[in-house]
């Protein structure tokens, strides 16, 4: 039986497998292999539905860094199951779609490895119980999204979009990390389950406010909430399967997952409610408003995704109210908001996935996705038209599609907001339905734009393109999804009872199954239905007169936007960093060495002076051997000679002399091994010096500026003095007993009589092993330096 931990690991293992074994098969489409992975995982998760629906949860633990209490705990409950099913289910369809979308001529290995990395890390996000593990996977999704957006890295736009997505989401991720750490400081545990159980003890903690803000920053950046939404449209540079998968169905919903996951923790807090619902509402409005302005179909879908994410966010904000301690019993309605949110989450994935795939097909078949150049495709691509219509109408909230149901539930939740009498909500409760209604009108308009501007009107022929229906294989995934769109409308309670309800229960641990109602198709002529009818009427009018309506956008000049802010901020940071770096990275080795020495003088000399640490005594000194006097004085003289050496040869020979003299000192110090080694090494080194020196130029008589020379002399003398003083103090006042006596048992412990060698080979063999490796690396370094040839394999990137 596969455990959930293995389910997370499986995509990573598959990626490794591709890297190791499949990369050589150029003709084989790796997609067929990759397809197995999400399919297996999907089947595996489907089998868990009855268990989860019965209220069970699955926990598996693998100790990862036990000393820091970081364990790889995977946790499967209703909420993570919904996301898990989305990730694997949509994943399967997207991989199938990509097999037809990408040909084997493209670098498939990269594509599928990144895709699998993403899949694994996304599963990791939703299945982890440990905050730090969740964070690691969270950042991994950002990184794999970065790699996938930049898949066509030859394009300038792809690189820009990838970087932008990475900057914004990683910034948010970092904020979330701070929030998680605060949460740990407050509760003393990293486990989400334990935090949920104990959080009521800490409701008045002073870190509560910053914690909420930081965690929400992470969620908002990832889920492209206003004003962080700007990365999502640029992320559309990615191949369409990726846009469908990461940037509409799964990754952007990670933020929503975090909000849902932390609703039991922060639900009932005024700040949480206001931030989540108002930012969500703002995003809903702004996204739908901006979408109409777009001419690129994918950009339109990007803004529509932003707006739909805002809708889900708003619902979670409203849902968090039901955790308020003074809540009335009849306010089960607010739990319905979360039900609606999760329901819409699934619906959105189905209809938005459909639309992305259709637009991918149009782009693939016609070669453009610019609305101004499309039209009249209905007679050429009838199946695509049908699918597109199902997706768009569902997005617009029309029956008989699943979007209608969740939109009605959204209106219900938002209309009941006025019943809530805390947080001075009643003052603002009127705004929510109005804004939501206007946003829905916009949604209706752009949904119609997708269908009617693309498939109706005069056919605009693209040069060299013959419009025809896509291949059968490419149509399977969107057809499946659009079938789901219709099926969910007619049988909503299968999904609702088995998948959504357990998820709601895991958001509200105290609520019972019976308290959540089921979805019904017909509510009678109530406010919600009237709102929908109003949307349709106003939407149609505005759609017909959209050329006049679009004049509104003149009021929003393009150069005053968050995009400009982002670009300027980036440029400013760039310049600032460059300025600071150029200030101290002067390119002169001398300066760098000087920094080190000045630091040495100031810090070590300073502390020696202020701590009064200098001591000096000759008590423990051994009498000086007469030979030592001789050799030591010659070393000093030789050292001085280097200053005055006229030629390189002199300097090198003097250096060699110092080496040999030290070898002799080693003899006097009773260190035979050292003396031997030093002798041989010095010989070889001198030979090397001479070998290289033969080819280096003669020393020029360089005029050193007097000031520079004086600085050098002052620095070197102070370094030498401080070195000597520290060494003398250390020698004079030994604070600890020497550990050397232990090694004198070498014969019994290591079976050797040469103590030095037993230390090297036995007591401290690890050092020796690493030394051998350093030696080896240096050898390779020398070899490559010499064999290295210029600029091979550097590819020039074209700037499109």
């Amino acid at each position: 039986m596969l455990t959930i931990n293995l389910a997370i690991l499986l995509p990573f293992l598959a990626a490794l497998f591709i890297l190791l074994f499949l990369r050589r098969f150029r003709r084989f489409h790796i997609g067929w292999f990759v397809l197995i992975i999400p399919a297996i995982l999907f089947a595996l998760l489907l089998r868990q539905i009855p268990n989860i629906a019965n209220g069970k949860t699955l926990i598996h633990q693998i100790n990862w860094i036990p000393s820091f209490d970081i364990n790889f705990i995977s946790y499967l409950d209703g909420l993570s199951l919904v996301f898990g099913l989305l990730i694997t289910g949509i994943g399967t369809l997207v991989v199938l779609y990509s097999i037809y979308y990408l040909s084997t001529e493209q670098s498939l290995v990269h594509f599928y490895i990144y895709l699998l990395l993403f899949m694994g890390s996304m599963l990791g996000v939703v299945f982890s119980d440990h905050l730090m593990v969740l964070y690691v996977f969270w950042e991994l999704t950002s990184i794999s999204s970065f790699l996938l957006i930049a898949y066509w890295y030859q394009r300038k736009g792809s690189r820009y979009g990838a970087k932008k997505a990475l900057h914004i989401t990683v910034l948010g991720g970092f904020a979330m990390l701070i929030g998680f750490l605060m949460l740990y400081v407050v509760t003393g545990t990293f486990s989400i389950r334990e935090i949920i159980e104990t959080i009521h003890l800490y409701k008045d903690h002073s870190l509560m406010t910053p914690m909420i803000i930081f965690i929400l920053l992470g969620a908002f950046t990832k889920s492209a909430q206003f004003p962080f939404h700007i990365w999502l449209p640029d992320a559309m540079e990615a191949p369409t399967p990726i846009s469908a998968y990461l940037h509409s169905a799964t990754m952007v919903k990670a933020g929503i997952y975090v909000v849902a996951r932390f609703t039991p923790v922060f639900g009932g807090e005024a700040l949480w409610f206001w931030l989540v619902s108002s930012i969500g509402l703002l995003t809903l409005f702004w996204g739908s408003f901006t979408a109409i302005r777009q001419t690129d179909l994918k950009a339109l879908l990007a803004y529509s995704t932003i707006s739909q994410l805002g809708l889900i966010m708003t619902l979670f904000g409203i849902g968090s109210l039901s955790l308020h301690p003074d809540i009335h019993v009849e306010s089960v309605l607010y739990t319905q908001a979360v039900f609606a949110a999760l329901f819409h989450l699934v619906n959105h994935s189905t209809f938005k996935g459909t639309l992305f795939m259709v637009i991918g097909i149009i782009d693939y078949q016609i070669g453009t996705r610019d609305l101004r150049r499309l039209g009249g495709l209905i007679s050429f691509m009838p199946i695509s038209f049908t699918i597109a219509m199902i997706g768009s109408f569902s997005m617009a909230g029309l029956p008989p599609f699943n979007g209608f149901l969740s939109k009605e539930m959204f209106f219900t939740a938002i209309l009941h907001l006025k019943d809530f009498d805390f947080f001075s909500i009643q003052t603002f409760a009127g705004i929510f339905p109005v804004v939501a209604w206007i946003a829905s009108v916009f949604t209706f308009i752009y949904s119609m734009m997708i269908v009617f501007q693309t498939f109706f009107g005069p056919y605009k022929e693209q040069p060299g393109v013959e419009a025809k229906e896509a291949s059968f294989g490419m149509l399977i995934p969107p057809v499946t999804l659009s079938a789901l769109v219709v099926l969910i409308f007619f049988f909503p309670n299968i999904l609702g009872d088995y998948v959504i309800k357990p998820a709601v229960l895991s958001v509200y641990p105290g609520v019972t199954n019976e308290m959540i109602g089921s979805i019904s198709l017909w509510h009678g002529f109530n406010k919600e239905l009237l709102m929908t009818i109003g949307i349709i009427i106003l939407g149609i009018i505005l759609y017909i007169y959209r050329t006049y309506f679009k004049k509104v956008y003149i009021a929003f000049p393009r150069n005053i936007s968050f995009d400009t802010l982002y670009n300027n901020a980036l440029e400013f940071t760039d310049r600032l960093a460059k300025g600071i770096t150029n200030f101290y990275m002067t390119g002169y080795l001398r300066h760098y060495v000087m920094y080190i020495f000045l630091f040495f003088i100031i810090v070590l000399g300073g502390s020696l002076y202020y701590l009064g640490a200098f001591t000096f005594s000759l008590n423990n000194d051994q009498p000086v051997h007469p030979f030592v006097w001789m050799i030591a004085s010659t070393i000093v003289i030789a050292g001085m000679t280097i200053f005055f050496a006229k030629t390189r040869l002199t300097a090198i020979l003097v250096n060699g002399y110092i080496g040999f003299a030290i070898a002799m000192l080693f003899v006097l110090f009773r260190a035979p091994d050292l003396a031997l080694t030093q002798l041989v090494v010095e010989t070889v080194t001198t030979a090397l010096f001479l070998l290289c020196f033969y080819f280096l130029p003669e020393w020029e008589k360089t005029k050193v500026v007097r000031k520079v020379k004086m600085t050098n002399i002052v620095i070197s003398i102070s370094v030498g003095t401080i070195f000597t003083l520290i060494a003398l103090s250390v020698k004079s006042g030994k604070l600890f007993r020497s550990i050397s006596a232990y090694f004198e048992n070498a014969d019994e412990l290591a079976g050797g009589k040469n103590i030095v060698n037993t230390i090297l080979g036995d007591f401290r063999a690890f050092d020796t092993m690493l030394e051998v490796i350093v030696l080896f690396i240096a050898g390779i370094g020398v070899y490559t330096l010499i064999k290295y040839t210029n600029n091979k394999g550097v590819e020039k990137l074209e700037d499109k």
């Binding site: 031997l676 041989v680 090494v681 070889v684 030979a687 090297l760 080979g761 010499i786």
Partner: protein, 140 residues
């Protein structure tokens, strides 16, 4: 510039063997007397240096057709593997052990796993030093 190298060449032909013997002696003596893997390796390498000085590279390469990069790499590998050997037996990484055996006629002999470790060290030292010198002199 052509120098008469006859004397150097004839002397080094003999001296190289003396150095090689010394290297082997130092290597095996290392456990109980001055010597060991490092010194053994270095002395061994210096005999190659001497040969390189006395003869030209082609001659030396023909005489010793060994890829010294491989020698260095296998040395590093032996060092790592000798460490891993201990972990298989449940000991900490790089634990060494030793035992005494009685051989007929020869007397008591000590066998120790350090010798394997030291062999790796010596091979790595020889390989690296000769690689460095060979690649410099080849390029020149």
């Amino acid at each position: 510039m052509k120098i008469n190298e006859v004397i150097l060449q004839s002397v080094s032909k003999i001296v190289v063997f003396i150095i090689l013997t010394l290297a082997l002696y130092l290597f095996f003596a290392g456990h109980n007397a001055p010597g060991g893997g490092f010194i053994g390796g270095l002395v061994l390498a210096s005999s190659f240096v001497l040969m390189l000085l006395a003869f030209d590279i082609e001659t030396v390469k023909k005489g010793i057709p060994v890829d010294f990069k491989l020698v260095a790499a296998s040395g590093a590998l032996i060092v790592l593997l000798s460490g891993l050997g201990a972990t298989i037996l449940g000991e900490p990484f790089l634990s060494q052990s030793f035992a005494y055996f009685d051989l007929p006629f020869y007397g008591e002999v000590e066998l120790t796993t350090v010798t394997i470790f030291e062999t790796g060290v010596a091979l790595a030292v020889v390989g690296v030093v000769v690689t460095i010198i060979l690649s410099i002199s080849e390029d020149v």
